[in-house]
Symmetry: C2
Subunit: 396 residues, 2 copies
Amino acid sequence: MRRMTARPANTHQARLLRLLRDGGPRSRAELGDRVDLSRSKLAVEVDRLLETGLVVADGLAASRGGRRSHNIRLAPRLRFLGVDIGATSIDVAVTNPELEILGHLNQPMDVREGPVAVFDQVLAMVGKLRETGVAEAFDGAGIGVPGPVRFPEGVPVAPPIMPGWDGFPVREALSQELGCPVMVDNDVNLMAMGEMQAGVARSVQDFFCVKIGTGIGCGIVAGGEVHRGTTGSAGDVGHIQVEPDGRQCACGNRGCLEAYFGGAALARDAEEAAGEGRSAELARRLAAEGRLTAADVAVAASAGDGTSLDLIRDGGSRVGQVIAGLVSFFNPGLVVIGGGVTGLGHTLLASIRTQVYRQSLPLATGNLPIVLGELGQVAGVTGAARLTSDHLFSPA
Amino acid sequence: MRRMTARPANTHQARLLRLLRDGGPRSRAELGDRVDLSRSKLAVEVDRLLETGLVVADGLAASRGGRRSHNIRLAPRLRFLGVDIGATSIDVAVTNPELEILGHLNQPMDVREGPVAVFDQVLAMVGKLRETGVAEAFDGAGIGVPGPVRFPEGVPVAPPIMPGWDGFPVREALSQELGCPVMVDNDVNLMAMGEMQAGVARSVQDFFCVKIGTGIGCGIVAGGEVHRGTTGSAGDVGHIQVEPDGRQCACGNRGCLEAYFGGAALARDAEEAAGEGRSAELARRLAAEGRLTAADVAVAASAGDGTSLDLIRDGGSRVGQVIAGLVSFFNPGLVVIGGGVTGLGHTLLASIRTQVYRQSLPLATGNLPIVLGELGQVAGVTGAARLTSDHLFSPA
DNA sequence: CGGCTTTGTCCTCGTACTGGAAAAAGTCGC
DNA sequence: GCGACTTTTTCCAGTACGAGGACAAAGCCG
């Protein structure tokens, strides 16, 4: 089961591996065009990579006018595992070396059931994926948790919504079970990396990624690198105050953004609206299911329910208010909105945009796209795989 | 006048130069302890630096138990010029190669008089400093302007408080006049670099620096590097909204932080309080001088004037509210408060702290110092010199 | 089938770096 | 003051590495 994947011996090899990951198979000649190495040097490094088995030759490339070149690709047997533990569900996916998803499972699960139960579930899902034949063992795994993480150690710290996880040795435990290196990060950081790898943020150096799920978090990328902050809690925007002396929030403060919007707040507001008879649509759904979720509001809104639309617009406006401030502060080149409530789609996006463009200065917003994430549910697992491969494809 | 200062030929040399800058003169042996180079290699690189004249031998070092080593120091003739153009005043300083200030001038001047007038003033001040004999020519100059800057080109862009400066080729013009390389940056970024070089932020990797002068800005340092944003307007926190539908701000929006606090707002509030008879102290000062400034409020407050204290506390609370949000977002290891109004001192600091510690989550604030800048008026010019030397001490 | 282009390999040359040895310059104890 | 020990510096040879040219191999095109 345990499999020691080779690591590149130097930065040149690391560079080549990442090129092959992000650009797919290439000929040696094309590689030569991209890196600043002499032909001999390039040949040597490629040969060494072939020896370690990290890359393989893969037939002949199309001719560029002369002799045909041999194609080089990352060893197709490489497999990365991405795990995304959300507040209320778990995503697990397996990728090929190019970080394309070969198999993906999603299962509802409350993170509050604690690390042991969640791990059992994750391992069961991994087993299921293995059975489908997409992977036997893994060369690396990345896992995202919905709270702050001490990144170098791979351990969650003081997670507000994850009782029992504080200090749990996630990296250590998962590494034991899987027999491969494991990286642990905050789920929003992984979402940002995912969108940077394969989504809307390709080749953007400075952006942030607001994830609106049960709670609200934000992955920050500065200069192409994820910014995690001093204690790993950067991006915790859900508890920024939007209303002095406002609603009580679970964190103990008042007026936090999360007290007004996010999956939990939205569900509660919807139930209240249904109870007060402000929306026949929501009331019917409440009666049918016993409770309401953000998804119900989304469906009701697309069916034209005014109250639901108002809820989304109000929430988007609150989020937009916070984002506007952060845009002034950070001056990103892109803002990505993602997470579970993207089902609310363009209504939400429109009200966020309105608020941001109204409140921030022209220089910062003039050319600032605010868009929905492209990857949806697989953003997190893609980012997890990316994080892992970045680690594996760097000199030991 | 023009003087072509040599540049290091490789990263090793650059590394050595920065070590000598930040740690002062050292022996070759001590340098060897810090860098990971063989003795022979080190000797070669030091010799080359000696040849170029960037460093000089400087007597014998104290013995460490055996043969005494020759000291090496940066060429003492090196001079850096730092210029800090504020909204209402200009600072100019000359530093030695270790970035210690040899001469410093400050002169009131309204930046709105335009780039030509300001440049005349700056050059006159530089001339005066030259006359004192601290420098003949300069090896590099850094200049800070109170608005966003397109950093690579060294050109201000769309500066709200600096009409006439948009697109003015600051780098080009100053470089012509001084005959040396010039770097241009936002004044708050320079303040952050200054505190990182010689102030409270030494060896802090992630922090930000809130400058409360006429307006309010914020220098951001992530991973030891200044974050300037996509269009160079990062840190523009003065126009973050603190009060929906609040006071009209000069920028056209409502409820901006700057509409409530900062030198300009504070002066206006003080005059209003004096006019309405809410403070005898302020009224007396208004009568004596015809107008009030933030400094008057500071003096009145330290004399025990309740209204002035209230003004400061209210303002600090507003600033704290914004900082609290940014702390949650960015999770810095330190927050520095600086700028003209630091005369308000600990009253201001206390109310900022109260607000931040109350509003942000424990993980982010648990070990978060919020302190006044150490360098006061010379933070900007020190940062300017640092920026310049960083550029000069990097491979060409 | 013969020129032309591209690709891959081989080989040599110059250079940069390492690590040991020894010389130079001190310190310290007796 | 002298010898043993340290530290610094220089010198030197051995080595590894990379650049770049030459040439062979492979393929396109007329």
